[in-house]
Amino acid sequence: MADRGDTHYHIKHLNLWFAFASLALLVTAVWMVLDDASRPWKNHQREFRALDLERTRAELETAELKAQAAHGETLQVEVQKAAAAVEALNAEIAAKQEVVRLAKGEYFVKESAAKTEKAQYDWERYVVDEHRLEHKDPAYGEAHMAAVYERMQKSAYGKEQAEAALAKAVADVNALKAPLKEAERALKVATKDIELRRAKIEKLDPADRATQVANIVRDFPGLDFIGPNLKVQKVALENLTFELNFTKKKRIDMCQSCHMGIDRAGFENAEQPYTSHPRLDLFLTNKSPHPISEVGCTICHRGCGEALDIVRTDHRPTGDEQTKEWKDEYHWHKQHHWDYPMLPTGMSEAGCVQCHTDSLELIAADAPKVTEGYRLFEEYGCYACHKVEWFPTKRKPGPSLKNLLAKLTPEFVASWVADPKAFRPTTRMPQFFNLENFADDAVIAKSKYGEGRDVLGREWNDAAVAAVTAFLQQRHPLQALPKPPAEGDALRGREAFRLSGCLGCHNVAPHDAQTFPVGGDLAHERADENEMGPNLRGVATKLDADWLYWWLKDPAKYWPDTRMPNLRLSDEDAADITAYLMEDPDGIFRDVPQGWQTSIPAAKLDVLQEQARWFFTRDGRTALEQRFEGKDETRRWDRQADLQVAVGERFVVQYGCYSCHEVSGMESMMPIGAELTTWASKTVDKLDFGFIPYIFADTHGWDQETTSNFKSYHNNFLEQKLKAPRSYDRKKIKNPTEKLRMPYFGFTEEQTQAITTFVVGLVKDEVQRAKMVPDAGELARDAGLRAVRQNNCAACHVLEPGLVTFKDEAGKLHTVGAEFRKLEGETLPPRMDRWAEYWADYVAYMKGEDEDFDPDEFEFSLRLLRPEPDFGDIGDSISVLAKDLVSVKPPVGGDLVRVVTDWYKKPFDAEDNSRTPDPEGGVGDVDGKYRKYAEEEYDKVRWTFAPPVLLGEGDKLQRNWFYAFLNDPITLRHQMRVRMPSFHYADGEAGAIADYFAYEAQRDWPVYYARKLRLAQKKSLEELAALIKIPAETLAGIENGSRPDIDASFAKVKAWGDAQKFDEVLPPVDPRHERVVRRSPAHVNALMAADSKHLAKAENLARDASGPYCVQCHYLNGQGPAGGTAQPIQWAPDLNNTAERLREDWVHKWIENPAKVYPGTAMPVNFPADKDSHQALFPGKAAVQIQALLDWLYNMQRQDLPTGM
C-alpha cells in the first residue's frame, strides 16, 4: 500500500512491524502447539501405549494363549469341515429356504388379514355400543357381533398357523446349518482371550494404512483438539469434596492421565508412572470395594488431583536421593500453596482412617501399619490425654492410685515417677521428668521473682518428684488390707503360676532384649499376647505380699477398669502364687535392672517455694510470701510437708496424671492434651515447629528449601514430637509452667511411624456419603475382633490355623491351613512362629546325628486344619519336601497351649525334679495327685489340659449359651487347671465376642461350602468352575474368602451344589434365631410313640461298658468318668450341657468322625460307618445309632419325658 501521506506514522515501517509481529505470533503459536504436544502426560501416554502393545504381544506368546491358539486352529478345521458339510446340503437348504420364502409370504397375507379383521371388529363394536347406549337397547346387534367376532378369531387362528409354519421352516433351515454355527461358536469361545488381545493390538498398532494415517492426524500437534487418542483421563467424584478457600469443591482426579496402568494387572514390574496398583483386589477395579470411579485417588493419597504433572500434583519424593533426582529431572519443589500434600510412600494407609473409623479392626490385615498405629494409640493411652471423638476406648489406661500405699512403698512411687523405664524397660508408662526441657544443668528459673539464685533442672525435678509422691500419699491414705486366709507354698505356686494361665498375658523376659533358643521357655520370650499385662520381672521388689494376694483374688476390686480378669483362684492357689512371686525361687521376680534403686529424692525448700511461686502466681506475691512465712493459718507453707503436697497437686494437674490414673478428687477433670479428632486437617502453618527445622538445618547441612520443606508436612512434626516430645522447646525462652508437657514414651522407629500414620489420618470428615457403612455382620465382626483383642482371647486359644505355603513340581504355589506334625526325633511339633530359627536349629541337630542328613530332601508332614480341595480334608496329612517349602505363617493365638503342655512335658531342667512340689517330678492334677506324663502323651496332654482351640467355634456353640458362658464361666473340662477367667467386660463386649464367632462361622460358610463341594466332587478348580459356569479365578476367590467373589458368584455355586443334591454342609444358623429341633415336643413325642424305650436304649449306648461307653471318659451330671475311676488325662468335657451348649449339626459331625473336626483329638470313631457295631445295645446302622444318641444328648435333662429317663 502506498503512503498517502495523511498519517503521522510511517506505513512502511508499520507494515514491517506488523509482519514482524505476525511472524512472532506465528512462531509463538507453533511453539505453543508443539509444547502442548509434548506435555509430560502425553509423553507418558505414548510410552504407555508402546508398553501395553509390547505386553499384549508378549501375552500372545505365553504358553497358555499359544495352547489356546493351537486349540483354536483345530477348531478352525472343525469349522471348515462343518462348512463343507453344510455346503454339501446346499440343494436341500435351498429347497428349505424356498419353503421359508413361501411361508413368509403366506404369513404376511394371513397377518394382514388378521389385522384387518381385528380393525373391523373394533369398528363394529364401537358402532353397536353407540347404538345400545343411545337407544337403551342392550341386546342390539348380538348375532351380528358374534359373527364378526368369529371372523376375527378365525383369521387370528390362520395367522398363528402361518406363524408356526414359518417358524418350523426356519428351524428346518437352521437345523441343517446348526453344525457350522456350533463349530463357529466353539471357536469364538475358545479364542476369546486371543481375539481380545488381537483387537487391542489392532487398536494400538493398526495394520491398515488408512487407520494409521488417521491416527497420526488425530494426535497431530494442533489438530489434537478434535478427537485425539491421547487425552486427559479423569474421574469426577460427586460425593467426595475438599475444602478450597472456604468452599467445598468436588474432587476431580486426573491421575490416570499418567498412571495409565494403575488399575490394570500385569504392570506390577513396569516403571513408574505405569506400575499397577499393588492391591488391585482392594482398590480401583470394579470388583474391588474401592472402585476408581467412586473413590478416585486423592481421597487416600492426597495431593492435587487436577494437576497434570509430577510437581503441580504435589508428589512427594522419598529420601534425599529421590528428592535430588526429582529436582534435577522435573524441577520438583514443594507446592506451598496446596494444603494437602501427597502422603509419603509408606503412609498411604493414613487415608483409611477417615472412612474406616467403625471398621478399623476389619481392615487390620490389609492395612497393618495404620491399624498398628491405632492399637498403639490405645495401648499407650494416647487417647486419655488427646481426645479423638470417635475413639472407642474410654477406660483409663493406668492403674487406679486410690489405694496405692497398700501396693507400693512411697520410695518406689518416687523412683518410678522419676523414670519408669529404669525399673521396667517395657512399661507403657511414659517419662515426665528429667527430660530435655528440664535438663539437669539448665537454669529453669531465677528464684524469688528473678532476684534470687538460679534453680537448676536437677533440683527442680527432684523437688517435683518428691512433691508428687507426697501429694499421692496424702491424697490416698492407706486402706489396710486383711491378712490372707491361707499360707502359700512357693513350689506349689510355681506350678499354679504356670498352669493357671498367668503367662497368657504376662511374660518374665529379662530386662535386656535377649533372644532365646527356639526350644526354650516361652515365658522368657516376648510375644504380642504375653505383653498384654506388664512383664513380671522384678515385681516382688515393688509389691506388698498381702496386696498381691488380694489382687490375684479379685483385681477389679483394686482397679475397676483393669483388664486383668478374675481367675477364680482358690485361696490356696492365690496364696501359693503369691508365695512363689515373693519368695522367687527362680531368680525372676527379684531381678531388677542394673542401677535401679528406690528412694525419695531430697527436695530443697527454696526450690519448692519457687515451684509454688510459678504455680500459684495468680494468688499474688503478698499472699504467697505470707504462706511461706507461716503467717497464713489456712496454708502453713512454712512446713515443707504441706508445701510439698500443695506443689505436688499442681504437678499432678499440670502433667495430667489423672487422665490415665484414677486420682481421688480429680475424677472429672478434663484431659490435658490437644484434641486430635481432626488434627491432620489443620494447615501445617498452625503447627509450632519451634526452632527444630533450623537446628536440623545446622546439624544436617540443609539448604533453605529443605528446611522449609521440613516444615511443610504434618508427619515430620509428629515424628519429631513422638521421638523427642520436648524438643520443640529447644532454644526457646519459656517460663517453667509454659514448657511442653508431653512425656517421653521411648517408641521405636516402627512404632513412631505407625502412630504417625494413624494420626495423619485424622482429618475432617469429607466423605460423608461415600463412607463405608458396615452392615450388621461387619459391625459384629469389627466389635468382636476388638473385644477378642481387648480381652486377649488369643493368648490362650488358637483362633486361626497357621498357613504353610509351598510349591509343587510345576512350581505353582499353594497355601494350606495346617500344622506341622512333630519331626523325627522331636517330642513337640515345630514352632511356626520362629520357623526359620527352628529349622536351622533342627538341621544342625540332625547333621550332628547323621552326617548324611540332607535338609533339602527332608519330608515335612503337615496336618490340614481346614478343607483344602487340592490336598484333602481336615485332619488329612500331606507331605512337603523342605526344598519346596516357601513360607510359614504361625497360627493366630494359642501360646499358652504351649506353655501348659511344656509344663506337663518338659521340665525347666530334666535333671531337676525340684521344679514341682512333687519329689518324683510329677505334675499336680486337679484331684490333688501328682502324676508324670510321658513324651508320647504330648498330643493328648495338649487336648486335655491346655486351653481348647477355637477353630470354627461359631459352628460348634449355640450363641446364647456362649454369651452366658462368657459372662459366667462354668467348668466343662474338669481336668484342667488352667481356667477360663471371669472377664470384666466393657459394655457389650461379651455379646460382641459371641456374635463375632457366630458371624465368623456364617462368613466362612461359603468358603467352607465351596471347598467341601469341590472335595466331594473330586474336581479341579478349573473343572468345577467350568461346570458351574463361573471363571476359575472367581471360584478360587470364593475358596479363599474373597468377599467380592462370594457376593458376586456364591449363589451360583450354591445353586449348582443344590442341583447335585450336595448337603454335606448344613447352612449356618442365624445366631439370633437359633432353635434346636431335636428338643421340640413334636420330635420327642414321635420318637416315643414309635418306641417308648428309644431314649432309654440310646442312653444305654452312652452308659454301657460294652458299647461306645461315652461315660468312660465324659463327665455326666457332675459324675466323674468311668464311675469316678478314670485319671484326669482321660477325662473329657461334661455332657451335661449339650442341649444348651452345642449345635446339633456340629455334634453330629463330631460323633461321626471327631478327627475331621479336631485333628488329633483323643475322641475315637465310635460308630464306624462300614461296620454294624453295638447291635446288642441299639440295633441299626451307624447313622441310626448316632441319631439316637443325639436324641438322648439333647433330651436327657428333660423332666417331662414319659419313661426311660
Binding site: T827, D850, S877, A934, Q1127
Partner: protein, 259 residues
C-alpha cells in the same frame, strides 16, 4: 483262628507279661537272588558302658485298669521302653539294611497284627515292610481305642470293642506310634521300613538278618528310647553263604535339651 495261632506262638509262656518277641526274626526275606549269592548278618546290640537303672514301672491305677485282666490279676507294669538284659543286650532295636536296587516287599500271605491283650499292646515294637496291612485286634473283654499317630500314613482313631478289630495299610516308611486314650500307659511302635532287609533284636539283643546279597553294608538301627535313638553300625562285608557278625554299641545319648 489265625489270630489265636499267632498270639499263642508269640506270647509263649506269660499271659500278662510282655516280652518283646521278634516277629520278623524267623521270616527270611524272599529275594530274587539265589540263596547262594546271599549271606547272613548276625547282629548283636549291646549297651556300652555301665548298665543304666531299669526304667520305672508304668503307673497303672487299679481303677483305670478295671476289667483289663480277668480273675483279679494286675496289669503287667513292666516298662518296655528300654529293656537291657544282664549281659547288656538291648531288646526291641529295629535293624535294617538298605540294598541298592532291591525294593522292599511284603512277603506273600504275610499278615501283621497288633493285639491288645490284658491292656498292653502286643508286640510293643514291630517292624513291617512298607505296604503291609496291620490289623489292630482286641483280645480283651474291655473296649480300647486304637489311636494311631502316623504322620505320613495318616492318623486313625477307632474305638475297638472287645473281640473286634480295625485295620490300616501302611504305605509309607515312618515310625508309627499307637496309643490307647482309655488306658494311657499302653503304647506301641510300628516301624514301617523301606529297606528290604530288616529285623528286631530279641531279649538278648541279638537278631539274624538273612538273605543279604554279598557286599558291604552298614546296619541301620532305631530304638524308641532317646538314650539309644538311631544310627548305623560299622561297615560289614557280607559274603555269599556265610554269616557275618556285627556288634552295635548303643546308649548314653542325651536328648537335646528343650525339644
Amino acid at each position: 483262628m489265625k489270630i489265636l495261632t499267632v498270639s499263642t506262638l508269640v506270647l509263649g509262656a506269660a499271659i500278662c507279661a510282655a516280652a518283646a518277641i521278634p516277629f520278623t526274626k524267623s521270616s527270611p526275606v524272599a529275594t530274587s537272588n539265589a540263596v547262594a549269592e546271599t549271606g547272613t548278618v548276625q547282629v548283636k546290640v549291646v549297651w556300652e558302658g555301665e548298665k543304666p537303672e531299669a526304667l520305672p514301672a508304668l503307673v497303672i491305677s487299679p481303677e483305670a485298669s478295671k476289667g483289663c485282666c480277668p480273675d483279679g490279676v494286675a496289669v503287667d507294669s513292666t516298662n518296655q521302653s528300654r529293656m537291657i538284659d544282664a549281659a547288656g543286650g538291648v531288646a526291641n532295636v529295629v535293624l535294617t539294611i538298605g540294598v541298592k536296587d532291591m525294593p522292599v516287599k511284603v512277603p506273600e500271605g504275610r499278615k501283621y497284627y497288633l493285639d491288645q491283650k490284658a491292656c498292653r499292646y502286643e508286640p510293643h515294637v514291630q517292624v513291617v515292610p512298607m505296604g503291609a496291612t496291620v490289623e489292630y485286634l482286641n483280645s480283651d473283654s474291655v473296649a480300647h481305642n486304637v489311636h494311631v499317630y502316623a504322620t505320613k500314613n495318616g492318623d486313625q482313631n477307632n474305638s475297638v470293642a472287645a473281640g473286634s478289630k480295625a485295620e490300616q495299610k501302611l504305605d509309607k516308611a515312618e515310625v508309627v506310634t499307637v496309643k490307647c486314650d482309655i488306658h494311657p500307659w499302653m503304647s506301641s511302635y510300628i516301624f514301617v521300613t523301606d529297606d528290604p532287609i530288616y529285623g528286631l533284636s530279641g531279649a538278648d539283643g541279638s537278631a539274624t538278618l538273612e538273605g543279604v546279597p554279598a557286599g558291604k553294608y552298614k546296619v541301620g538301627y532305631w530304638h524308641e528310647h532317646d538314650s539309644i535313638g538311631k544310627g548305623k553300625s560299622d561297615e560289614v562285608t557280607v559274603e555269599a553263604g556265610k554269616t557275618t557278625t556285627v556288634e552295635i554299641k548303643v546308649g548314653g545319648k542325651k536328648k537335646k535339651a528343650g525339644r
